[in-house]
C-alpha cells in the first residue's frame, strides 16, 4: 500500500502547472482529428432523415454513385425506421466535402412518413402518436416508498406543491464528433475525437469482427466530449464502412447542426412535488411524480431527494419518449436537474417557514463536508447581505443571493495499465492508453511522474491517446480519469525509482534506501553534498533501461465529493436581464494533483451551469417535428462578456485522488434561480430564465 506525499513534502504535486500541450494548442500545432490529412483522403457526409418519424421503404443510391468524385456510398439499414429528424440513413465518401454534400442530395429515399410527437406533455396524452410501434411512449418505473407521507403531512408546519422543470441541453463540444479511418488489409487505424480510445477500439473491432489488436485508435488531442463521445457512434461505423468500401482513408466529421440533432443531449426533467416541513426546519416528506425525455429511446433519470434526508417519501419516475435525438451521458448525468429541483424546493420551503435558507439546508443535510463548505461559502459571498423579505423589495435594479449544492462520486477504479521507462540518456517515458478529454490528464500524469522521480513535469514524456502500445485505460467518464490513472502511474514510477536508486547505490557504494530524489538529482539523504545529477545517474544504465509497469492501488484514491455554490445576481426589471455578479464555488475533490487545471474544471462547470440556467434550450417545433434552433445563433451559449466574477475555493479534505470534472456543473442553476428570487421575489421553477420570462413574471406579479 502506497500513499501520496504530504503537502509539505510535495514538490510539484498540487502546485499550479500549465498544461504540457498548452503552447501546441494555442499555436495550432496540436493535431486534432479534424486536422488529420492523409494521402488520398476522402470526405464523408451522412444523409439524415428529414422527418421526425418515417419508415424507409427503399433507398436508391445509383445517382449518387454516378456523380464524379464519389467513391463509396453505404446505407445504414434498408429497413430502418427513423424516429427523429437527423436519424442516419446513408453516407457518402467523395473527393471533397462539396461533392459529398451534392451526392447525398442525389440519394433517393422513399419513406413511409408517420405521425410524431416532440414534447413530453403531448407524448403522455392518450392517443398520442407512438414513437415506437411496440411500446408505449411512457415507460413508468416502480413506486419507491418509505415512511408515511400522510402522517408526515399531518404534522407539517408548512407544505408546498409545485412543479419544477429543466430543459434539454446539448453538449456543444467545440470539436464536433468525427473520425478519420484508414484500412490496411484487415486492420484499421482510426483517429477519433473520443473520450474512450479503448471503447472505440472495442466497438469497431466487434462491429467488423476483427481481433482487437487489428484496430488502432489514436486521440492525440480532442475538443471536448462532456459524455457524448464514448464510442464510435453510428458516424464512426459509417466512416469505417466507407473507407473499406472506397479502399481509401475517409474523414467524416459532423457539422454543428448534426451535433444538435443526433449525438446526444442532457434529458429534460419535470418534477411534480408535494413537500412538507416542520416548524423547526426538518424536511418531513416528499411525494414526487417525476418524468423527463431522453428522446426517442433514451432514459431521463435523475436522483431525488438528492442530498437531503427525507424519511417519508414516495416517488415514481417515468421516461417519456418523443421523436427527437437521444440523450447521452452529459456532465454529471441527472445531477444538475436534481440539484435545480431540490434547491429550488428547499429555498421555497425555507421562505415559507420564515427560516434562513442556509440554516434550513444545514438542518437537513447529513454531509459533514458540505456543512463546512456552507460556512466558507456564506462568508465569501457575504450571505448576511441577502434580502430578508425578497417580495418587498423596491426599485427596478435588484440584487440578491442564493445557493445550491451537489455531490458526486469520482473515485475511479481498476482497468488502467501504464508503463514507465527510464532511458540511459535520462529520458523518462510514461505511457498509458487514457485520453485527454480536455481536463488535463496528460499534465497530471507528468506531475505524478515528476514528483516520484524528483524531476520537473516538462521533463516527462507522456504518451497517451493511442491504443497501439496495448496499455488500456477506461473511458473518461464519471470524473474517474485522474483517480483511475494516477495511482497506476505512481506505482509504475515508484518502481522505476527504486530500480534506478539501486543502480546509483552500487555506484556510490551506499544502501539504496539511504538515497532520495529531488531537483533533478539523486542524493544521499544524510549528506546532500553526495549526489549525482539525473543524467549521471541514468547514464549508469549503459545499454540497459528501466521498464516498469504500474499497478492499481485503491488506497491512493477515494470516491465521493461535495460542493456548494453561492450566487449573487442583479436583475433589471425594466429589461428582464439577469446579470450574475459573483459566484463562489466551494468544491471538494480530495488530493489536488494540479491546482491550475483543477480550478479550471470548477470555472468551466460554473460557466456551463450558468449557461444552462440562463440561456441554453433545445427548441422543437411541434407542427413539423424539427428543432428550430440547431445552430449557435439561436441555441445560445453564454459568452465571455456575460461572465460574473467566479471565485473558486478548492476545499481539500483528504489526500487521496478524487475526480472533479463533473461536480462543479451541478449546483449553479439552483444557486442562480434562488438568487433571482432573493433579488426580486419572483420564483422561477423552470429554466432557462430568459428576459421574456422575467418581464412576464414581473408583470403578472404586479397585475
Amino acid at each position: 500500500m502506497s500513499s501520496w506525499p504530504s503537502a509539505q513534502e510535495a514538490k510539484v504535486l498540487g502546485k499550479r502547472v500549465t498544461r504540457l500541450s498548452g503552447v501546441d494548442k494555442v499555436t495550432g500545432r496540436a493535431k486534432y482529428t479534424y486536422d488529420i490529412r492523409l494521402p488520398g483522403l476522402l470526405y464523408g457526409k451522412i444523409l439524415r432523415c428529414p422527418y421526425a418519424s418515417a419508415k424507409i421503404l427503399s433507398v436508391d443510391t445509383s445517382k449518387a454513385e454516378a456523380l464524379p468524385g464519389v467513391r463509396a456510398v453505404v446505407v445504414v439499414d434498408e429497413n430502418k425506421t427513423c424516429r427523429f429528424v437527423g436519424d442516419e440513413v446513408a453516407a457518402v465518401a467523395a473527393t471533397s466535402t462539396d461533392i459529398a454534400e451534392d451526392a447525398i442530395r442525389l440519394i433517393e429515399v422513399e419513406y413511409d412518413i408517420g405521425n410524431y410527437v416532440v414534447d413530453e406533455q403531448t407524448s403522455m396524452k392518450p392517443g398520442a402518436p407512438k414513437v415506437h410501434e411496440d411500446r408505449e411512449n411512457v415507460r413508468p418505473g416502480g413506486v419507491n416508498e418509505q415512511g408515511s407521507i400522510d402522517d408526515a403531512f399531518a404534522e407539517a408546519a408548512v407544505t408546498l406543491e409545485a412543479t419544477y422543470s429543466t430543459q434539454v441541453q446539448t453538449h456543444m463540444c467545440l470539436e464536433t464528433h468525427g473520425h478519420v479511418v484508414e484500412w490496411d488489409g484487415e486492420s484499421m487505424t482510426v483517429w477519433a475525437s473520443t473520450q474512450a480510445v479503448f471503447g472505440v477500439r472495442g466497438s469497431l473491432a466487434d462491429h467488423f469482427e476483427l481481433p482487437a489488436d487489428q484496430v488502432r485508435v489514436i486521440t492525440e488531442h480532442m475538443g471536448g466530449g462532456f459524455g457524448s463521445k464514448f464510442g464510435p457512434g453510428v458516424e464512426g461505423v459509417l466512416a469505417a464502412r466507407l473507407a473499406k468500401e472506397a479502399e481509401a482513408p475517409v474523414k467524416l466529421m459532423l457539422d454543428r447542426k448534426e451535433e444538435f440533432l443526433a449525438v446526444g443531449n442532457r434529458p429534460s426533467a419535470i418534477a411534480e412535488i408535494r413537500a412538507a416541513a416542520s416548524k423547526d426546519g426538518r424536511l418531513l416528506a416528499m411525494d414526487m411524480k417525476t418524468y423527463g425525455t431522453g428522446g426517442a429511446s433514451g432514459g431521463a433519470g435523475f436522483p431525488l431527494p438528492y442530498v437531503y434526508t427525507v424519511n417519508n417519501r414516495r416517488r415514481q419516475h417515468s421516461d417519456v419518449f418523443i421523436n427527437a435525438g437521444n440523450a447521452r451521458a452529459m456532465r454529471a448525468p441527472g445531477h444538475p436537474q436534481a440539484s435545480f429541483i431540490m434547491e429550488s424546493m428547499m429555498d421555497e420551503l425555507a421562505y415559507e417557514l420564515g427560516m434562513d435558507p442556509l440554516e434550513f439546508r444545514r438542518r437537513n443535510d447529513p454531509n459533514e463536508v458540505r456543512q463546512g463548505q456552507y460556512t466558507v461559502g456564506a462568508r465569501e459571498i457575504g450571505w448576511h447581505r441577502r434580502n430578508r423579505n425578497p417580495r418587498e423589495m423596491k426599485g427596478t435594479l435588484r440584487r440578491g443571493i442564493g445557493m445550491g449544492c451537489g455531490l458526486w462520486g469520482g473515485g475511479g477504479g481498476k482497468g488502467t495499465q501504464a508503463r514507465c521507462t527510464i532511458h540511459s540518456d535520462g529520458t523518462v517515458e510514461v505511457v498509458t492508453g487514457t485520453q485527454d478529454l480536455g481536463t488535463g490528464i496528460r499534465t497530471a500524469i507528468a506531475i505524478v511522474a515528476a514528483e516520484g522521480l524528483g524531476l520537473a513535469p516538462e521533463q516527462i514524456h507522456v504518451r497517451i491517446g493511442d491504443s497501439q502500445p496495448g496499455l488500456p485505460s477506461g473511458g473518461s467518464g464519471g470524473s474517474t480519469t485522474t483517480a483511475s490513472v494516477t495511482p497506476v502511474i505512481k506505482t509504475a514510477v515508484d518502481k522505476a525509482r527504486v530500480q534506478l536508486l539501486q543502480w546509483v547505490a552500487e555506484e556510490m557504494e551506499v544502501e539504496a534506501t539511504a538515497l532520495t530524489v529531488g531537483d533533478g538529482k539523486i542524493f544521499l539523504a544524510d549528506d546532500l553534498s553526495r549526489n549525482l545529477s539525473w543524467k549521471e545517474a541514468t547514464s549508469l544504465l549503459g545499454t540497459d533501461m528501466i521498464v516498469t509497469e504500474g499497478e492499481w492501488d485503491s488506497n491512493l484514491r477515494q470516491s465521493g465529493v461535495a460542493g456548494v455554490q453561492f450566487a449573487e445576481v442583479e436583475v433589471d426589471l425594466q429589461t428582464g436581464q439577469i446579470q450574475p455578479i459573483r459566484i463562489v464555488a466551494v468544491q471538494d475533490c480530495g488530493l489536488v494533483v494540479n491546482r491550475l487545471t483543477a480550478e479550471s474544471q470548477v470555472y468551466s462547470g460554473v460557466i456551463q451551469g450558468l449557461s444552462w440556467a440562463l440561456l441554453e434550450d433545445r427548441i422543437m417545433d411541434p407542427s413539423t417535428g424539427l428543432m428550430i434552433n440547431p445552430d449557435m445563433e439561436y441555441y445560445k451559449v453564454t459568452g465571455s462578456l456575460d461572465m460574473p466574477d467566479i471565485q473558486v475555493i478548492m476545499y481539500d479534505t483528504h489526500r487521496k485522488v478524487t475526480g472533479l470534472g463533473e461536480p462543479p456543473v451541478i449546483p449553479t442553476a439552483g444557486a442562480i434561480a434562488n438568487a433571482v428570487f432573493n433579488a426580486t421575489g419572483l420564483r422561477f421553477r423552470s429554466i432557462p430564465i430568459t428576459p421574456d420570462k422575467v418581464l412576464t413574471a414581473y408583470k403578472e406579479a404586479n397585475a
Partner: protein, 330 residues
C-alpha cells in the same frame, strides 16, 4: 454548394453593368455567406465590391454631412474621429453589434441590407413566405423573437443595431443606378411586409447602395442607443431604442425615437417624438411617452414581453437624456 461566377469590378459603373438576374452583391459577406451555405441564397454571379476605390471611405464634406462609403467596415466607422465627436450614439450601437471579429469584416452597407434573422427564415427546412413559400411559421409557432409592430403575414424583425441609430440621426442613403443615382432618407429605405414579403428595402436589382450621409446633429443634441439581448455579444436585439434629443434651455426642440428588433423595419415612433417636442422632459412626460410608444403594439402569443421591454428601454433612454441635459447645465 452551387457554383457561381465571382467578379471584382473596379468601378461602380462596371458593377452596375454586371447586375441582373441571378447576380448578388458581396460586401463583407458575413450575412451572404451564411445564406449561401444554407441554400437561402443561390447566386449565379457574385459581384465583389471590395475592388472599388473609395467605396470604403469615410469623410466630412463641406455641406456639413458625414459621408460613409457603404463598404466601410463597422470597426472603421466606430473608430473614426468624426463619429466620436458628433455621433456617440453610433458608437454605442456599433459596440453592441455582433462581435469584434464580425465588425472587422461587416460593412455599413451590408448591415443595412442584411436579411432577416427569423429562425424559420434561416432554417432551410421551413419554406416560409419570405422564401417564396407559404405562410409564416411564427404565427402560431415559436414567436418570442418576432415583431410586435408592423407585422403582416410575416413577423420578422429588422435585426440591425446600426439602422435605428442612423435613422435617429436623420441619415440618408445614396443609391447608384446606371441611369440616375438618387438620395433617399433612411426612413424611406426599408420596406415592411405590407409592401413586400420578399425584400426588406427599396433597392431594385439594378441598384447599389453606395453611401450613407448623416447631417451634423443640432446643437445640444444628446443621443443614446440601448439594446437588450439574451447574451451580451454575438446576439441580436430582443429590442433596442435609439434616441436623439436636443434642447433650447429646458424645452425639447428636436426628438427622434427609433426602435429596433420589434418590427420588420427599424420602427420610428413619430407620435412619441411629437409629444416630446415643445416641453420639458419630466418624469411624468417620460412615462406618457413610454405608454405612447407601445400604443399600437400587436403582440403575438409569446412576445408580449417586448411591450414591457420597449417601455423599459425608452424610459431608460429618456431619463439618461434628461440627466445629460441637467449635467450640461451645471
Amino acid at each position: 454548394m452551387k457554383t457561381f461566377e465571382y467578379i471584382t469590378p473596379e468601378t461602380i459603373d462596371e458593377a452596375l453593368e454586371l447586375l441582373g438576374e441571378g447576380a448578388q452583391i458581396l460586401a463583407g459577406g458575413t450575412d451572404l455567406l451564411g445564406e449561401m451555405k444554407r441554400g437561402l441564397a443561390t447566386p449565379k454571379r457574385l459581384i465583389n465590391l471590395k475592388g472599388i476605390q473609395g467605396l470604403a471611405d469615410i469623410r466630412s464634406i463641406p455641406d456639413g454631412f458625414l459621408t460613409i462609403g457603404s463598404l466601410a467596415t463597422l470597426s472603421h466607422l466606430a473608430e473614426h474621429p468624426l463619429v466620436a465627436q458628433h455621433y456617440p450614439l453610433l458608437i454605442e450601437a456599433l459596440q453592441r453589434t455582433a462581435s469584434p471579429q464580425i465588425r472587422n469584416i461587416a460593412t455599413v452597407g451590408g448591415n443595412l441590407c442584411q436579411r432577416p434573422r427569423c429562425w424559420y427564415y434561416r432554417h432551410s427546412a421551413f419554406p416560409c413566405i419570405r422564401k417564396h413559400g407559404e405562410g409564416c411559421f411564427a404565427m402560431g409557432g415559436q414567436d418570442r423573437y418576432h415583431a410586435i409592430f408592423g407585422g403582416h403575414r410575416c413577423f420578422i424583425v429588422h435585426p440591425s443595431d446600426l439602422a435605428p441609430a442612423l435613422m435617429a440621426l436623420d441619415a440618408e442613403v445614396r443609391i447608384a443606378h446606371a441611369d440616375d443615382s438618387r438620395i433617399v432618407p433612411l426612413t424611406d429605405f426599408f420596406v415592411g411586409p405590407r409592401d413586400s414579403l420578399t425584400q426588406e428595402n427599396i433597392l431594385t436589382r439594378q441598384e447599389i447602395l453606395t453611401a450613407i450621409r448623416i447631417p451634423v446633429p443640432p446643437d445640444n443634441a444628446y443621443g443614446t442607443y440601448l439594446k437588450v439581448s439574451e447574451r451580451k455579444a454575438t446576439d441580436f436585439a430582443l429590442a433596442s431604442v435609439a434616441v436623439s434629443i436636443a434642447w433650447l434651455d429646458t424645452q425639447v426642440t428636436h426628438a427622434r425615437v427609433v426602435l429596433g428588433g420589434v418590427a420588420p423595419v427599424p420602427w420610428r415612433v413619430k407620435q412619441v417624438e411629437e409629444m416630446l417636442i415643445g416641453d420639458e422632459l419630466s418624469g411624468k412626460r417620460i412615462e406618457r411617452a413610454c405608454e405612447r410608444a407601445v400604443d399600437d403594439a400587436t403582440p403575438l402569443r409569446h412576445n408580449r414581453y417586448k411591450v414591457a421591454l420597449v417601455k423599459g428601454l425608452l424610459r431608460k433612454a429618456l431619463h439618461a437624456a434628461h440627466r445629460s441635459r441637467e449635467k450640461g447645465e451645471k
